[in-house]
């Protein structure tokens, strides 16, 4: 991974790069010292959220780019859900950067066929977390793929739309987390949607809102409301 971010940094206009892993933090980076550890973590956290929100609407989303007067930040998801972040000059050549990123990632995938747990070679920001043992090997659930599963497309869409009415923009994040929890416990199917509904209601918390949400879903879906 260190080689990957070093390759990116060698591109003209790239100030530095980092690899961010959700729930663990930054695995490695070569950004200037001006970027403090907790700030790099914050950047990764927010970009991962933006990426997740974007993929709700656009499963084909490839990368997220945020432009500020001082810099432009590019974020792309790669192996195992990690994110590669590049901080660049605002005037960087993005075609060159995108192509170089593709090549570097191809190279990386070619040389590192293992799933996760590369030891950060330098500047380990979240050192304590990075060296902790990898999580138990639970099957990975892809919420975007789940939402396109035959038979589930419509009910999940209805449940998400209703949740958006109750929770606003945060609904998308909450819904994905709930989908992962639901699909990790049992086979995702129409017959088990009530369990998903219960998970979502637990996330909503507020009893009045829970009541409204159940009502909204009930109107459009005939779930068993025991």
């Amino acid at each position: 991974m260190q080689q990957l971010i070093e390759e990116l940094k060698s591109i003209p206009g790239v100030v530095g790069a980092s690899v961010y892993r959700p729930k663990q933090g930054v695995l490695c980076h070569n950004l200037p010292t001006l970027f403090k550890a907790e700030r790099i973590n914050e950047i990764g956290k927010h970009l991962a959220k933006i990426h997740a929100a974007g993929r709700h609407n656009f499963p084909d989303l490839s990368e997220v780019m945020v432009n500020y007067e001082e810099a432009t930040i590019l974020c792309r998801q790669f192996q195992g859900g990690d994110f590669l972040l590049a901080v660049c000059d605002p005037g960087v050549n993005f075609n060159l950067l995108a192509m170089s990123m593709n090549l570097a990632l191809e190279d990386f995938h070619g040389t590192v066929p293992t799933t996760v747990a590369q030891t950060p070679a330098a500047a380990p920001v979240a050192e304590e977390k990075a060296v902790s043992p990898p999580p138990p090997s639970t099957p990975k659930v892809d919420p975007a793929a789940l939402k396109e599963t035959e038979g589930l497309v419509e009910p999940l869409q209805i449940m998400l739309q209703a949740l958006t009415k109750i929770m606003g923009p945060m609904a998308m994040i909450v819904f994905d987390d709930a989908l992962i929890a639901w699909a990790s416990k049992q086979a995702p199917a129409v017959s088990t949607l009530k369990i998903l509904l219960d998970i979502l209601c637990e996330e909503i918390g507020d009893q009045e809102k829970v009541g409204r949400y159940r009502e909204l879903v009930k109107k459009q879906l005939s779930l068993d409301q025991n």
């Binding site: 914050e42 929100a53 084909d60």
Partner: protein
């Protein structure tokens, strides 16, 4: 014609604009040209929040725009406008640079006029 309608008409005329939604920072939809704007509005609001959170955390100035890149340039581009976020879905195979430039110029024009009006 309300200010929101005038704004919507002007945005729709910009080359490369396919769908758009203008939201307040709390997620409230102000104007749009979609049949079902809630989903896109949520993405736009969350994207705007995230970009602002990064700027506060790192100490950058106001974010200019955010791009969710998709195949065939059907990108989602989010702009910041005072207390609002404007999300635009780009028409396939159009120039992102031109779209960003023209929308930025229009938004800048609105902000300048508001400053003049407020003295």
């Amino acid at each position: 014609m309300s200010a929101a309608e005038r704004f919507a008409n002007r945005i729709a005329q910009i080359k490369g604009v396919d769908q758009f939604v203008l939201t307040r920072q709390d997620g409230q939809i102000i104007t749009h040209n979609l049949s079902n704007p809630e989903q896109l509005a949520s993405v736009v609001t969350l994207g705007g929040y995230g970009a602002q959170a990064i700027q506060k955390s790192v100490g950058f100035s106001q974010f200019r725009y955010l791009v969710c890149t998709r195949p065939q340039s059907q990108n989602l581009i989010v702009f910041s406008l005072d207390k609002y976020f404007l999300g635009i879905q780009q028409k396939p195979d159009t120039s992102q640079a031109e779209l960003v430039s023209e929308v930025s110029r229009f938004l800048q024009h609105i902000l300048s006029r508001r400053k003049e009006t407020n003295g």
